[in-house]
Symmetry: C2
Subunit: 248 residues, 2 copies
């Protein structure tokens, strides 16, 4: 399983991803799911992948190869065109692999998040489906998730507001969302990659990776547990009507 998320606010972008991959519960390994393609000062892309590692590797290999040759994401003229470029690459891999997979009842499963910015344009965030079509994050729905999305969603719903949430706050929410998910689903696991991209930086300046034993990660984890318990205790007591006679 996988859990990745992207957040878009007026100040920029935050991306976070886990690193666990599994084929069944008895075959677990670690793969990085966050990738960057950057022409400093010109354009910066951060991609996260979920689904089959084999398929996402093929997509990323071809995207990077084109990029380094000055094509593909190196020459698109908008983030929308970038999302379409990624989608086209997904479709090329589908053309190569989908039939062989489906013959053995394996679904063609690869999703991507694409975040980034071109010089002179706004930063933006897209999801690309296995069919190649893109979905854009909006002011009303300023975050997108891949994979095991449910455990980590309530905290995002409560916390993320396009016009209000700073990038530093968004990064904390992203880590807490990952933390909640890793606690409940053991097929989502560390290390966690985190990128904060501030609008107009046009390079990937703030990237970090948290292992399970990372002191920052552990401190944040236990402080959050404490803070949350205190928050619950601070809620007013529930007022009950005495229901002794009800037996409906």
């Amino acid at each position: 399983m996988t859990y990745c998320l992207g957040i878009k606010t007026r100040w920029g972008l935050v991306l976070a991803s886990d690193s666990r991959s599994n084929a069944g519960l008895d075959q677990v390994s670690t793969f990085r799911k966050m990738h960057t393609l950057v022409l400093p000062g010109e354009r910066a892309f951060i991609l996260c992948t979920s689904g089959s590692v084999s398929l996402s590797q093929s997509v990323m290999t071809m995207l990077r190869q084109d990029f380094q040759a000055g094509h593909g994401l190196a020459e698109v003229d908008s983030l929308y065109a970038a999302a379409r470029c990624v989608g086209e690459q997904v479709r090329r891999v589908a053309a190569t692999d989908r039939e062989a997979l489906e013959r053995d009842h394996i679904s063609f499963n690869v999703h991507l998040l694409l975040a980034g910015q071109l010089r002179g344009q706004e930063p933006d965030l897209y999801m690309i489906y296995p069919q190649g079509n893109p979905l854009r994050a909006t002011r009303d729905s300023p975050y997108l998730q891949l994979g095991e999305a449910k455990y980590g969603r309530p905290i995002l719903d409560r916390g993320i507001r396009f016009d209000e949430t700073t990038l530093e706050e968004a990064a904390k929410y992203a880590l807490l969302s990952l933390d909640s998910t890793m606690r409940s689903n053991m097929t989502v696991g560390p290390p966690v990659d985190l990128v904060i991209y501030g609008a107009d930086e046009l390079k990937v300046r703030w990237h970090c990776r948290f292992g399970e034993a990372d002191p920052q990660w552990r401190t944040s984890h236990s402080l959050w547990d404490q803070a949350r318990r205190q928050a619950v205790q601070s809620l007013p007591e529930i007022r009950f009507a005495d229901a002794a006679d009800r037996q409906a």
Copy 2:
């Protein structure tokens, strides 16, 4: 969809359930999913149901009919026997309905939570599967969920400890868990039923029902949003290594 949960601590039991039922998104209705069977001073049972409303109604109708005639749950001699009694009733409904349902590719889906106490014994909490077999909550896993369980689980994982969590706290966690779930899945909806059962009460004394407009519910909802935001803000800033030169 449905979301119900039961919590067992050393001080007793907390049960909470939503009331929304849907057959597709265009057919939504309200059904109470929490039921009580009580012989005051002797035995008290609280049941929550998920799955097909038709099936859970059949199970509850027969359980109540037997109970009122002094049989079934009125004469079992332990909570384990009570869970088996509910399971037997599920199997009788399966014998009546399962074949007809499966002929039309409808799965036989009914899950129940059974919480309660017999005089002189400990309170206890079970889940009963559609196959009729029971699962008991334990000190290590002191809560059980039915239905749309993922959204509301992280807060329970962090908050509920058999030996530490008071019933009042457990009730707050239960409501927050419901609130998170209703926010993310519109097929889980109000009113919310909540019961706190203190050990040795042997009646259902504290029951309440929150509609969407209930002032207590709304206050708790917005205070929790505030408290949670403050808790996130209180976390230490993330320390990044400057990653400007990394483009892996």
